[in-house]
Structure formats: C-alpha cells, structure tokens
Symmetry: none
Subunit: 270 residues, 2 copies
DNA sequence: GAAAAACTTGCATGTTTTTGCGGGAAACTA
DNA sequence: TAGTTTCCCGCAAAAACATGCAAGTTTTTC
C-alpha cells in the first residue's frame, strides 16, 4: 500500500517536469517572434519546432494573417506588407551576420542588470531575442529598441528624451547626455559603426558620438556589437577608447585573424 | 476514493504547508505567483497542484480575469495583455470615427507652430495625415506618434524621456512633466478618454493624468479629440478643467444635440 | 446559540474549441 | 507536362468549457 502512495506521489512530482504543452497564444507569440527575427517562417519548420501538425500551424498562420500580423504565403508566412514602422521595413543590411551576433550577445545580459543600449539594427536584433523571463532595466535613446522592449513582460524601460534624429530614430542632445551622466549601469551595449584596434569605437556623426560617449561613461562594462566588415575602419569622432572597451561581439570565430590585435589588448571576444 | 489518494499525495508533496485545504484567496495568490514566475498557468496543472477540481480552477481564473489580473485563454491563463503587438495590431476601435476626427483636426495645425501631443490611436491617425509640406515642432511622449513623425520631412520632434508605460507605449513620470513645464507651446492636442461638459477631460490612470495635465499647462490652446461615445463620461482624475478647454473635435456634426452644453460654454466645435 | 442566508466546491450534463487526419484541389518545381 | 509539395475542407476524437444542482461550509442575523 505504501508503495502505491509513493508511486502516486512520484507521478505527481513528474508533473512538475510536465511535457511542453503550449497554449495557442504561446504558439502565436512564438511564430511572431520567429518571424520578426528571421523575416520568414516555414510551415514545416514551425510544425517540427512546436511539435504540432502542419494543419495546426496553418490554422495559426491563418488566424494571425486575418489579424494582420503576418502575410500568409505558400509554404509559410512573411511579415505584413504594410508595416507601420518604417524602420523595420528597410531591408536590414547583412542581417545574417547581425542575427549571429545577437544570438551570441544574448548571454551578456543577466537578471537584475541595468543595461544601456543605443540604436542600430544589430541592437534591435538582440532585443528581439531577449529571453521572456529576463528581469532587467534598460535605458535607451532608440525608438525601435524601446518599442521592441515594451513587449517584454519583465523589462523596465527608461527612455532618454531629447531631439529626435530622424535617420537614426534615436534622440540626441544635452538632455540625453544629462540623463546618462546621472546613472551607473552594469553594462553598455553599443551598435558599432566602426571599430579600430588602436582608435577604438568611432562615429561619423558628432552628435551621436556625443551621446554614445555618455553611454560609455555611465557603464562599468562596454560591449561593442560589430559586423566584421566594420572592423578596423575609422570615423572622425571617438566614442570609446580601445582601453575602455571590455567585450567585442562579432559574427566571426573568436580565433579569426583580424581579431588578434584585440585579443592581445585583453579584450573579451565572443 | 480517487480523490482521497489525491489529497494524501498532496499532503506528501506539500509537507511544508500544514493545511491541506487552501482558501480561495490563498489559491488566487498561488495562481498569480505561479503566473508571474512562469508566464503561464495551465488549468490542469493548477488543479493537481492545489488539489481542487478543474472547475474550481476555472472559476478562480475567471474571477482573476474579471479583475484584470490575468488573461484567460483556452487551457489556462497568461499575464494580462502584455503582448508586444497589442497596441499596433489590435484592430483600432471605432477607427472610422477616429479617421473622421483626424481629417477634421488636420487644419488646426499650422506652419511654424509648436505642438504638444500625447498618445492614443486618434492622435496617431491625425499624425499619419499631416500634410507633407507642414513645417512644425512637435513635443510628444508617445512612442508610436514619434515613430510616425520621424517619417515626416519637415517636422522637428522632441521626445519627452522618462519611464515607459508599456501598455500605453508612452513615457510618464517627473522627467516628462519637467520637460513640459519648461516650454510654451501654441497648441496641445489630447487623445481623450473621457470628456464631460462640467468636469472637462478626465483620465483613469493617475500617472497618465499627471502627464497630460502638464501638457495642458504648457499650451496656449487645448484641443480634445474625442469620439462621441466618450462624451459626457467621467474618470477619476482631472486632466483639464472645462474652462481650460478651447476646442473639441468629434466625428459628429457640430450641431449635434450632445454638443450643445459645450457650445454654450464657448468651446469651439469642429 | 440556532436558523437563515450566502458562499464554496465537486460532479453530471451538454456544448464549444482544438487538433490531427484523409482525400481531393491547388500550387509550385523541374 | 508530370510529380511533388502544400493547401483546404470536412470529420471525428479528445480536451476544455459553461451551467445547474446538491452537499457541505461559513457568515449573518436575531
């Protein structure tokens, strides 16, 4: 008899490990996230990833399409044609590399941290991929980053106000610099236009450089996300000295030749 | 009999908890805690964990949902509408009316003006329809409004920084209020949730009300965009006294009966 | 302190939603 | 054009749901 109890209790215990039952809404969220990250989804892959039949996926896609959240095509789905956010509509240059970088950089952000983040498509890809259960506080001056973060349940977002630089969809100016001068963050993640093994991070726009400099100064740890083709290029205005740089994330293997000078300077490569 | 096993098993499991029967309130607390920890709860799991029937769990979930503390879905429940796409993909309620209002309100904004604008779908519709050759300066605390405006060639945008209220996709807090306290604008355009011919504009969220109040105080002229069904409704927090209101834009004909009290008070109707 | 009222819970009932599958239509590919 | 893949439609089983009701519990009231 006692054995039976044990058995029953163990069944109950097992239930805490529960097989992964996804609610319909969760599947929908997953699909949308996947779509936003990869720009396309396949019925077949989704069926495997979510362990449901293709018919179910089709029904999901249909529902989402009816809702205007994606565009259904033969074999899968694409982002909605009329996207209210112009920034996203633009084809992202070197998206594959940026996705790779974003995936690598995910692990840098941990629970409870205060994170500074500027704009740029690489950062946006990273933000799209932050785990749903991450608890953190983000400071940013980028509109698209803020929009994306506003969808996360446990991330507090502080937006740095100021004059809006339209091309970058980010704020600049004294107000922004002032805000960052008042905080002390754990980590600062920079979408980087130019990285050089002697000059560090440089920028082409003086005002943006100004703002990024204030971000750098407010953080204990500075991380540069940069695609390889921008390594060892130079721009007029310095954002962050090479000595102030803590980590560099690229899409390359960390043993790649071009990264050697950085390794020599003690910079963490990912 | 089967039930007895269950009870017993649950005692084994919850050896730390003395009572085998949880009060309703306790169950509710447990459910909410579980939800916040895992981002989802399943009716079936909860039934096991709490050793009550699924019917009871359903009733609990329904109650919590009615209370706005979670979102009930088939199979369980999810956190209250935190999905990133809620704001932009949600079918805009009463869109037809809002478009009508936006079309009417276009003429209020003129070249060279400094305009204050808060969030809301009506304002967003207006912003979408601003003439391409308009030159103006906009102050806003709404993310979607700023994004939309950033696509406009001749409008300068100043974004009010602060803590981001995710549901509204707008910033709130002292910083925002402070910014608006320092400027003097020509016109302030409010997306309005409630308008009353005696109380004026009122809001349901205290922090949002606070921000809107600062907008009102910074402008020479206050315009309310409001769909007719929100006329003569009331919310707890006052944004703008009826005397401080200059213009009201609705989708109705200006001779409509419901607007008479406003006309009598000398408010401009459009 | 006892009767009445209100509340809570589990179960039986019938209904709705979700899901996978078969088969034929449609769309792609070569 | 032929052949494969993907889609769509209807069906059926399983799961989840709403509802009414009865039994038990708690609270109120006098």
């Amino acid at each position: 008899m006692r054995n039976n109890w044990r058995k029953f209790a163990s069944i109950l215990l097992d239930s805490s490990i529960k097989k992964q039952v996804l609610l319909k809404e969760e599947r929908h969220a997953y699909i949308l996230q996947r779509l936003s990250a990869r720009q396309k989804v396949l019925t077949s892959s989704l069926s495997e990833e979510l362990s449901v039949s293709e018919d179910t996926i089709r029904r999901d896609l249909k529902e989402l399409a009816d809702n205007g959240q994606l565009r259904k095509v033969h074999g899968g789905a694409l982002p909605p044609s009329h996207n209210p956010y112009a920034y996203r509509d633009r084809e992202v240059y070197a998206l594959e590399s940026k996705i790779k970088i974003a995936e690598k950089a995910r692990s840098l952000i941990q629970d409870g941290q205060v994170v500074l983040m500027d704009g740029g498509t690489t950062n946006l890809e990273l933000v799209k991929r932050l785990p749903q259960d991450l608890h953190a506080t983000f400071f940013t001056n980028s509109l698209p980053v803020a929009v994306q973060l506003s969808g996360h349940p446990h991330i507090e977002v502080i937006f740095a106000g100021g004059k809006l630089l339209k091309d970058a969809q980010a704020t600049i100016g004294l107000e922004v610099v002032h805000l960052f001068s008042e905080i002390r963050a754990d980590i600062c993640i920079l979408g980087t236009r130019s990285l050089h093994h002697e000059a560090g991070i440089t920028e082409i726009n003086w005002e943006e450089a100004q703002v990024k400099r204030s971000l750098v100064q407010a953080a204990k740890k500075v991380v540069a996300l940069v695609i390889s083709e921008k390594i060892d290029t130079l721009q007029p205005y310095t954002v962050c000295d090479i000595k102030g740089l803590h980590t560099v994330v690229t899409e390359l293997d960390t043993t790649d030749e071009i990264l050697i000078p950085y390794k020599k300077r003690g910079i963490v490569l990912i």
